[in-house]
Amino acid sequence: MISILIACSIGLPWVGALLVWLIGDKHEKVQHWTSILFSLAAGAAAVLMLWNTTGDAGLTIKMGGIFGDFTFIPDGLGVFLAVIATVIGSLAVIFSTSYMKGETQIGRYYAFVLFFIGAMVGLVLTSNIMLMFLFWEITALCSYALIAFHNDDPKAVRGGIKALIITSIGGVGLLLGALILFVYTGSFDIRLFIADHSAVPAGMMAVLAFGFLIAAAAKSAQFPFQTWLPDAMEAPSPISALIHAATMVNAGVYLLARFFPAFKDVLYWREAVMIVGMLSALLAAIMALTSTDLKRVLAYSTVSQLGYMVYAVGAGSVFASQFHLFSHSIFKALLFLGAGAVIHSVGTRDMTKMGGVGKHMPFVKWVFIIGALALSGIPILNGFWSKELVLEAGLAGGPSWIYAVMVLVAGLTALYTIRCVWMVFFGEARSDYHAHKVELAMKVALAPLALAALVSWLAVGPFSQLLGEATLPQHNIETLSLASMFHEVLSIPTLIALIGIAIGIALWLLRSKLAGFIEGLKSLQWAAEHSFGFEAVNSAVVRVTNGLAETLRNTQTGLLNWNVLGILAALIILLAAIILGA
């Protein structure tokens, strides 16, 4: 039963991708419906897995001696992320039917979206690290292809290439980890490694742990790789919602959470993780404060919130990080899809040209405000509970100065969120735009997300059970009931955090009286717009990679004879080596 569900949730989107591509762009309607059908079917399969979680292999494909078995384990952590990927994937596909209507080459778009959904499910369910690396790279490829979907726009192509190169650097970290794992344990099985990592010596363990931290930071756009995510915003909005908010960028956090039991004793690893999370959260929040591009603000806030999750893992609470991931996936997908509806309707991403959009699109305004309140951490939305749990965990498991910075970031979050909402939906129109009507498919995708942002925190009990001992024996996650969450969250530190958030909001409301303070921020703004210098570093990496590729291109003559000569030369070298060696 469970093996069929696993096969369905990975395989159905891939079959769908193939079908959409084969149907061809002449039948746009059929393509829309095929993608909806297959993504919903995968979503149903993933949701059914919730009742069938197990810590043992759910599906094993024998692959002989070299790569080990391809094993998929539907444990709580994996199934939860698979559900997020498929359900939010389905909603993004439904949203796309209206957002992408009339675009050319819609088949390419849907094929990559579906291919991505399947790969993401595979990434979180597999327990073979080689296979995980494969899925990891597939998601990076899909992300690249979808960022650069409008491939006649050089900005989009540049953003895509940048995302691909930076995430591939992370992939190298993962591959290195996989090889070290194999050298010392003789298998690629993650589960065995986490259960017993005594075979790996301490020094190698440190290399492994920090290698995975780099991989995770690159994938999740954390410090110092945080600059690819804003540039990825050239992608169509449903893609930003799905890949760059709800799923792929979470893969890094997932990696850290998955390996936390093995790495937690590595010297300074937890501190490094917490500092990476803190710097990402802080820098991205400041950048979000000064940006005027609606989607870039949301991208920065994604980096910032991912910083919270990474921080929680470092502080030792995998549960808090995953619970925040759960809330964040919902409200950030909601915000991105809402922003997509606004952009689709107004025709620009520049917030300085918006203003007063709320009058034309009341439905979008209200769901966006729900998402924004959840992002700011206002009670009683899901973002409030999960963020407070993260902060509690940080206070308990990490130094208090990092905690103080994170509370400050919570205040900044409230400030930039209210600024964003205000600039888009309230005030007077600052340019001559014509808002279109919001279509039904958009509403169908937005409504469940808004509802979930309001109530998803009620599921904390079942959620903690899902991540509990039954399927994740090494993670030591205790079951947390709703009542005990109330007890834990409603305490003095929460009050401090709420005061921080209130100050953030107050700063915005009093902005006219605080002109001097804002002037002081101007110098910060310049630095923030340049990503505090890290943009230069990241761009340099991309430039060097591209330059190397261009140089190597000269070796590709495109003439078969030269290629054959290369093969023959390899044969000669091989023979000579054998003869000389023997």
Binding site: L559, N561, W562, L565, L568, A569, L571, I572, L575, A576, I578, I579, A582
Partner: protein, 163 residues
Amino acid sequence: MWYVLIAVGILVFAILAISAKRLLISAIWLAITSALTALMLFLLGAPQIAVIELSVGAGLVTVLFVFAINIAGEEVIGLRSALPLPLVWTSIVLACGLLIFFIFRSLGFVQFPDATNTIAASVLWQDRYLDFLLQTVLILAGVLGVIGLLAHSKDEHSAEEKA
């Protein structure tokens, strides 16, 4: 003695096949080379492979060649190589020389078993499910490729008709 004759024949006809000016002639020399290879396989005690090589290599593929050459048409392309000739010769001589040296040195003591193993045939198709799977996939790939190519040309025809 037979072996020597066949080996020399293979070399001669292979050279003829690659040096023939006309493609059609080249295809025919290739078919003869294939037939000689099949004969050698048969002498080596692999009659099944020999039959397959004869029917597929000398038969089917030759038909395909003739077919393709008929459609594509003969074309005399300048004999000037894209690579510098000394490079070609050096690498070929080096590779073949090394191979021959290698064989003479490492296989000098191997005894050639003359009794052929007859139970091979029954083992052949029973133990090797993987190969069957692989071949099915390969054939599928071939069929898909041909369908793709044909579908493409059909589109073109309809486009030409419209124009």
